[in-house]
Amino acid sequence: MQDLIVLPSINFTEVFNTKNGAIYQSDSENCWYIDFAGKLARFDYRNLLKLKKAVYNIDIEDLLLNSTKAPDLEIIFICACDHCYVLSILEIIALKELLQGTFVMLELNHIIFDRLHRIVA
């Protein structure tokens, strides 16, 4: 007998993508899925903001210029979040680009909501 596992259907909307990854929004779950560095990770509102803060706070210039022998790896660990990223400098730049684009799109979505959907005709 064959077990049939029925997965709940989740609707994703792509928020932003680059050639290195993509971020999707799930309206039904009120969360985002980040497809980056070989995995798909779920982030809720709080964790997405914490990720943004963590990534934006990395001093990329300092990483590039310092001459210490430590490997160029950053561990992005977010409190109370199941995921953690261990990224090289190039990946950090790519993730930052992805997040920046995403937040611009989310802002744009907010503006569109204000102009189109929040109007009572």
Binding site: T13, V15, Q25, D27, N30, C31, Y45, L49, L106, N109, H110, F113
Partner: protein
Amino acid sequence: MKDIIRAKCLLSSDVETLINQQIKKEAHSSAIYLSMASWCSRNGYDFSADYFFKQAEEERMHQLKFYKYVLDMGGTAISPDVTNIKIEYNSFREVFEEALDQEINVTQSIKSIAARCHKEQDYVTLEFLNWFFREQREEEYKARRAVELFDVIGEEGTGRWQIDKHVGQIKYEGEA
């Protein structure tokens, strides 16, 4: 696509950051007033010490008001660390001059939050800030009046004793 971020938080991240900075400023103010109270008490100006204790309480109350507002609007309020609080002052007058400076700084920084809110059309926060503007009117008046006492009464003879006695009686009777 749903506007999830707006549903979670009314404040923009810029306004939230500014209010968190303000929370820190109010905490700092409160700590400075406490330090001033200590200096006054040590130097025999007991009425002024009481005045500064009251001011410290008020600043703490302002801090909490901002703090709760950020939380109520869905933001993240950050409990600040307060460092570099001065312990010694050169003169009785200097204490009050710094107190006035302190209040001016607070007013100016609330004004800059309001400017940002105008830019973003965040009328909700603007309305919230109105209470603080009214409060700052009183705070600045009281601080300015205290410094004025030094000129009006003069520090010669029993002047400082007189000033100390009158500081606690300063009241702002302005229209609401």
